[in-house]
């Protein structure tokens, strides 16, 4: 049985390695998240907003031309069609309702690609709550449209200037803000990372993805189960949601796609399952990229949402125990997959999501297989990157 225990461990991974300053808030969440999430009124509000505001259920689409190319059966779970353009909003809707229920008055978040920042700014506008989003200074540059969106939605975007000035550092700054504002503030973490109960809480909010997949697949194929589910993994929230209802179905392969950056062993990579060792990052015992002295290494990926030196503890456990298969995809292969999907299916995916598509070129499968790819987000935010590399792609230089 794959599930988190009461202390937040998946096997040996998880827990809550946090300074005492965070304890009251995290403990309050730990004691109350399940009870609140299970209340009728909470469930009603959550599902009503997912339907009427987010636009769920998101379609499960049989990608015929892609299937023909790969000679198998590929379905796309269209999280890109959600309001704000990615799966991130499933979690922020859930957490803002929880924050309100806990009487919190102010919201903070970290963001990498800006999708989680936008999804948080959006629900804060919806609920009339002040919102501060921490974003690495490097990411503020490479994801400029999302920065403008957050500001337009009324959020304050604060640059994180320490370390690699990317997602890890934005998360550090958000945690420090929470330490400084322990009473009125809720921290909406954007991935299945952080101290318990965050990884489990985020996975549960995202689990709507596989909940829908089951009945949608049954309508399409007569079975609720695919042969494989593929998702990209930054911290692991879209993957956690896409795997959730299949975790204990061992005949469903779970494929976790990480960012190899310029190559797994190039020194510029974010392939945590290969390069990571056991340790603690952002309050969780998990796999992370670090030196032998235990200093966290600065990761690299062209895709801001995968540019993170750790993975959530559930994924560390799934990979370490062999339940999930990890695949690493380079920047170049992710770009190629993005251009290919755009032409084949008329869908421009997010750069993060493109990594999941590139996995089709390296994994093994049968022609009779049913494969679901979690299409975690759309590529509008990455247009500048896509434009910059398009000529190289056309000229065969990628």
């Amino acid at each position: 049985m794959i599930a988190v225990d009461e202390r937040g461990y998946y096997g040996e991974f998880g827990g809550a390695y946090i300074p005492e300053m965070l304890y009251p808030n995290v403990e309050e969440l730990r004691q109350r998240y399940l009870e609140i999430m299970q209340e009728d009124i909470f469930q009603k509000q959550f599902h009503r907003l997912l339907r009427d505001y987010v636009g769920r259920p998101s379609p499960l689409y049989l990608a015929e031309r892609l299937s023909e190319h790969y000679n198998t059966n590929i379905y796309l779970k269209r999280e890109d069609l959600n309001h704000t353009g990615a799966h991130k909003i499933n979690n922020t809707i859930g957490q803002i309702l929880l924050a309100k229920r806990l009487g919190k008055k102010r919201i903070i978040a970290e963001t990498g690609a800006g999708q989680h920042g936008v999804a948080t700014a959006t629900v804060c506008a919806l609920m009339g709550m002040p919102c501060v989003v921490y974003m690495g200074a490097v990411d503020i540059k490479r994801q400029a449209p999302n920065v403008s969106r957050m500001r337009m939605l009324g959020a304050e975007v604060r640059p994180a200037e320490s370390g690699s000035r990317t997602l890890k550092d934005a998360t550090n700054e958000a945690i420090r803000d929470w330490i400084n504002n322990p009473v009125d503030t809720h921290y909406i973490i954007g991935s299945a990372v952080g101290p318990h109960p965050y990884p489990d809480m985020v996975a549960r909010f995202q689990s709507v993805i596989s909940e829908e997949m089951k009945w949608q697949l049954e309508e399409h194929t007569g079975s609720t189960k695919p042969n494989a589910v593929i998702a990209c993994v930054g911290g692991g929230s879209n993957a956690a949601g896409a795997y959730f209802h299949y975790l204990n179905e061992p005949d469903v392969r779970l494929i976790a796609v990480e960012a190899a950056g310029k190559g797994v062993h190039s020194g510029e990579s974010a392939a945590t399952s290969v390069l990571g060792t056991k340790g603690i990052i952002h309050g969780s015992r998990t796999l992370l990229m670090q030196t032998k002295d235990g200093q966290i290494v600065e990761p690299y990926s062209l895709s801001a949402g995968l540019d993170y030196p750790g993975i959530g503890p559930m994924h560390a456990h799934l990979i370490a125990s062999g339940r999930a298969e990890a695949i690493s995809i380079t920047d170049e292969d992710a770009l190629k997959a993005a251009y290919f999907l755009s032409k084949k299916e008329g869908i421009i995916p997010a750069l993060e999501t493109s990594h999941a598509f590139a996995a089709l070129d390296v994994m093994e499968y049968n022609s009779s297989d049913v494969i679901v790819i979690c299409l975690s987000g759309r590529g509008d935010k990455d247009l500048e990157t896509f434009i910059n590399h398009f000529d190289d792609y056309q000229n065969g230089d990628l």
Binding site: E20, Y23, S162, I280, D293, G294
Partner: protein, 263 residues
């Protein structure tokens, strides 16, 4: 009796604990700083292991840690430096650091090496009480090390009692709800918190830290606890470019405002 216990046996008031980041300003300053602090009349010293991602620390300690790592500070080197410094002093030394580097070194190996190098106690701010009790308490006790846990203005009375019972060095009272960094003064709200904790009559000595930076804030803290801890303000003093000995002497003098014993 451990060095920490005999210190608090002897000195029930005005204990001054000064923090520095090992490897800052220069890689081999550790011994010099320990000697200078000892000579200047400090009662105990908190040696900070630099870490890339110190979640509970403000910019001053973050930057000193970054510099120390760049200078080449590692745990094996730090243990060597401390063992060497220990030959010349009897002052209680407490090692403060985040848990990830401890895990990489090997937890039990770390505890044993600390003891062998002459470290007296540990502060591991992101090692939670639950994990301490279930996984590490035995090993730390076996190594003969003291341990101090933190409490904050938000810590419940029940948990304060638990932390008091588990702490063997002192209880580290975080002075306000904030990351480390020098603040200008101490508010009435903080005083109310100090009084509340004082009235709980804990078994462990209490030291107040975070935001203590001057003679005035040190004195105020000492009215409500057995002593206080200064970190960021000292790091800043060290960063001003004066030789370690002079900077330390002047800094401690400013805090204590009493003549420093000559040796």
């Amino acid at each position: 009796m451990s060095r920490l216990q005999s210190l608090f046996e002897r000195k029930k008031q005005d204990a001054l604990n000064v923090y520095f980041t090992a490897g800052y300003p220069a890689l081999d300053d550790t011994g010099k700083i320990i000697r200078a602090l000892d000579n200047a009349g400090v009662d105990l010293i908190e040696v900070g292991m630099p870490y890339s991602d110190p979640l509970a620390d403000g910019p001053t300690i973050q930057e000193s840690g970054q510099q120390a790592i760049q200078n080449g500070m590692t745990l094996p080197l730090l243990f060597e430096q401390i063992a060497e410094a220990r030959e010349h002093t009897d002052i209680p030394l407490v090692l403060m650091g985040y848990f990830n580097p401890v895990m990489q070194y090997g937890e039990q190996r770390f505890f044993d090496r600390c003891a062998a190098a002459g470290i007296d106690g540990l502060i591991l701010p992101d090692l939670p009480v639950y994990e301490y009790e279930n996984f590490y308490r035995e090993g730390i006790e076996k190594a003969g090390l003291d341990i101090s846990f933190l409490i904050t203005p938000q810590t419940s009375d029940e948990r304060i009692r638990q932390i008091d019972a588990l702490s063997t060095g002192f209880v580290y009272m975080v002075s306000n709800s904030a990351i480390t960094g020098a603040k200008s003064g101490i508010s009435e709200e903080q005083i109310a918190y100090f009084e509340r904790i004082r009235s709980m009559q804990l078994e462990s000595p209490r030291l107040i830290g975070f935001g203590i930076s001057s003679h005035e804030t040190f004195q105020t803290a000492c009215q409500y606890a057995n002593g206080a801890i200064i970190g960021s303000a000292y790091i800043r003093a060290l960063g001003e470019g004066q030789p370690v000995e002079e900077a330390t002497h002047q800094f401690v003098q400013q805090i204590l405002k009493t003549p420093i014993p000559q040796d």
